[in-house]
């Protein structure tokens, strides 16, 4: 049982290989068939495997499929082996399910593209890497997937490589991720040195014997792993690559930079819950960084004009929520939010893609407006997802966000709770601002784009509708309060129990009244945010404009993303560039390295120049030399030698 898990992982790789090699010569339909066929089949198998898993008794829910022994060097023993347990099962369904829908959508979105096959090759390769990351049963396989998704992210952000902005954004994402990966791999090294193994089972099984609670080593491991998560999941201070990643085609933004890849960091933290639970300091860092990112990114999202950038900052902000949840030990809530976020954020991105597609590539919300009647399907799905992300009952985001806020409140971190609640209100405001600017009000669409304005084809709207449906009902998996009805908690919960003491029972005695009160409060905050957005962007735009005038300075700072990119450039990039150019290039490279290499050559050339004079090619010269030397020798033997 479960010995077909490797097929799920490998199918997308097969699609990528076939399309990568045959793509340029076969017909477009064949490419589509391979790309969709492999991911679709992978999804079906994933569903089968998932239900097999659910069918098992709760304490036996871990299916391992060892394919072969990969590395055996000394003490190191790494298998290519896949693990299906509730945590990887959830991610498996999200990755293959949402991934498949986005593949379908891409068929419509990328229809006019000149290298259609290349896009699907990358997309399939991404699916493969992501599945490796999620399904591997040791840290090395996770790292392979981790690097693989980073590579695919780079390739897809820079998909339109002839545009400078796209190429630069791809590079930025890659470099930022490298910083995180560096921490991650150091963490893996430390795990191997400490445990002598990098297999999840061995590491988590012996963690309590090998490490001391709150000790230096476990804290170091947890923090190093978290550095990796910070890079991949775009948290402060490495978040700046994600908004720039919007240079990629919109389906890529939806799949990689919203629904799946960026949640890899959350997955890793949840997976390593045993280690994190033993390191309270590291947990604190995770929670604080998560919370800070949530509110920081949300405020940047307030005044962005590019619709995709608004969504990008909201992704960063939502990822912050997930880390905050993980940081206070509410791993289930984090995983829950990952799932609901995957639904509504993928839907939002695909919706924005539909708008951009309909407007012939326009992304500036100042040139949209009143699209509601032109694109009804896009509008309604976008609206549902926006309600979900804003946390309006009964949409999915309400349950997951509320669970995070509730857990935070319960953990006693009232400051974090307060900040996160404010961020939730800000989220509701800027998301509805986007809705109002895009779909309501008066049309500001350019006349040229107006001519081609159309609702997207079915192949694009169907995934939207499915995702909107999931964004509506997805939350019911985690209904709070009623014991037993919280399916997700019962399913995932046991995985995170190890290493928890008092926090483990927080679900057991939660007060319904308190939770209801908090729910009402967060709902109220969301509604305030929405009302403000309505007031400023529909009702009274004049007041808004005069406020812009009054707070010009603040607006400018926030609109320019607090100048973080510029600060990074000044502190890191520019010094590195100038040191590289002035010292590493002009001194080390040109003078020392080139000097050494050329020096060896010219030394022997000079020597040869001198030696060659001994052979002028004149016979008489040789004869004279012979004569002189002979005379010298004879003289020596006659008179010299005694």
């Amino acid at each position: 049982m479960g010995n077909y898990l490797w097929v799920i992982v490998l199918l997308p790789l097969l699609g990528a290989t076939v399309n990568g090699i045959l793509g340029p010569v076969v017909k477009k339909n064949t490419v589509t068939a391979f790309a969709l066929g492999t991911t679709g089949l992978s999804f079906i198998l994933a569903v089968v495997a998932f239900f097999q898993l659910v069918g098992l008794p709760a304490d036996e829910r871990a299916i391992t499929n060892t394919v072969y022994s990969w590395i055996e060097v000394g003490d190191m023993n790494v298998n290519v082996s896949f693990l299906l347990d509730p945590l990887s099962g959830l991610w498996l369904l999200v990755v293959t399910g949402v991934g498949f829908l986005i593949h379908v959508y891409s068929v419509g979105y990328m229809d006019h593209d000149h290298s259609y096959w290349r896009f699907f090759t990358y997309l399939n390769l991404f699916m493969f890497s992501m599945l490796m990351l999620v399904m591997g049963d040791n840290y090395l396989l996770m790292f392979i997937g981790w690097e693989g998704v980073g590579l695919c992210s780079y390739l897809l952000i820079g998909y339109d490589y002839h545009r400078d902005a796209a190429a630069v954004a791809g590079k930025k994402a890659f470099v930022m991720n490298r910083i995180g990966d560096f921490g991650f791999i150091l963490g893996i090294f430390l795990i191997f040195v400490t445990f002598g193994s990098i297999n999840y089972h061995d590491v988590f099984g012996s963690a309590h014997n090998v490490l001391t609670e709150g000790g230096v080593i476990v804290t170091a491991i947890a923090l190093l792993l978290f550095v990796g998560a910070v890079g991949k999941s775009a948290q402060i201070p490495l978040y700046t690559w994600l908004p720039d990643a919007m240079e990629g085609p919109t389906p890529v933004s939806a799949l990689i930079h919203a629904a799946t890849m960026v949640t890899a960091g959350v997955y890793m933290v949840c997976r390593s819950a045993v280690l994190f639970n033993m390191a309270p300091t590291a947990m604190m860092v995770v929670a604080v960084i998560g919370c800070a990112t949530a509110v920081f990114a949300a405020t940047i999202g307030l005044f962005q004009k590019d619709i995709k950038r608004v969504l990008a900052y909201s992704t960063v902000s939502q990822l912050g929520y997930m880390f905050m949840a993980a940081g206070i030990g509410a791993y289930v809530a984090a995983a829950f939010h990952v799932m609901t976020h995957a639904f509504f954020k993928a839907c939002l991105f695909l919706g924005s893609g539909s708008v951009i597609h309909g407007l012939s590539g326009e992304q500036n919300m100042d040139k949209m407006g009143d699209l509601k009647k032109h694109m009804p399907r896009t509008y309604w799905t976008f609206l549902i997802s926006t309600l979900a992300i804003s946390g309006i009952f009964p949409f999915a985001g309400f349950f997951s966000k509320d669970e995070i806020l509730y857990s935070t409140y319960n953990s006693g971190s009232l400051v974090l709770w307060g900040i996160a609640s404010v961020a939730a209100g800000v989220t509701a405001f800027y998301m509805f601002r986007a809705v109002f600017m895009t779909f309501h009000g008066e049309s500001r669409v350019e006349p040229e784009a107006m001519k081609h304005l159309h609702e997207s084809p079915n192949v694009m709207t169907m995934p939207l509708i499915i995702l909107a449906g999931l964004a509506t009902v997805g939350g019911f998996l985690g209904i709070p309060m009623i014991e037993g009805a919280n399916v997700l908690h019962n399913f995932l919960g046991p995985l995170f129990e190890a290493g928890r003491h008092e926090a483990a029972h927080d679900t057991a005695h939660h007060s319904a009244a308190l939770e209801l009160g908090l729910m009402g409060l967060s709902l109220g905050i969301a509604i305030i945010g929405i009302s403000l957005a309505y007031y400023f962007y529909i009702k009274n735009t004049a007041l808004r404009d005069s406020l812009y005038g009054t707070f010009k300075g603040i607006h400018k700072v926030i609109f320019n993303k607090y100048y973080v990119d510029e600060i990074y450039d000044a502190i890191f990039t520019n010094p590195i560039v100038s040191v590289s150019r002035e010292f590493l290039h002009k001194v080390i490279d040109v003078v020392i390295i080139d000097g050494l290499v050329n020096g060896v050559g010219s030394f022997f050339t000079t020597l040869s120049e001198m030696a060659k004079r001994m052979q002028p090619g004149m016979v008489r010269h040789y004869a004279l030399t012979m004569l002189v030397v002979s005379i010298m020798m004879v003289s020596y033997f006659l008179w010299g030698a005694k």
């Binding site: 002028p616 090619g617 008489r620 004869a623």
Partner: protein, 104 residues
């Protein structure tokens, strides 16, 4: 009246003069044939020395050696002239200064 008999010293001086003429010829001339002839002069100067000592010491070894040298010189003449002819056919000259393909 002093009998005009050539002593050993006379032979040796003549031999030295001949040898020097040969050396100067080899070093100063450019024509391969002339150089070649100069070498022959040097060889024969050495032969003269051998004969002179042979006579003086009453030892036949020197004369045997002279025959040896003459045989080698004959073989050398054959090979050397063949080289010069081959040289002339290829470069249309026997000037040794023109033959410097192997110069460094």
């Amino acid at each position: 009246m002093m009998e005009a008999v050539a002593s050993l010293n006379h032979y040796l001086i003549l031999s030295a003069v001949l040898f020097s003429i040969g050396v100067i010829g080899v070093v100063t001339r450019r024509n391969a044939i002339v150089i070649y002839m100069s070498i022959e002069v040097m060889l024969n100067a050495v032969n003269l020395t051998f004969i002179a000592f042979s006579n003086h010491l009453n030892d036949m070894g020197g004369q045997v050696f002279t025959f040896m040298v003459m045989a080698v010189a004959a073989a050398e003449a054959a090979v050397g002239l063949a080289i010069i002819i081959a040289l002339f056919r290829n470069k249309n000259t026997v000037d040794v200064d023109e033959v410097n393909l192997l110069k460094g």
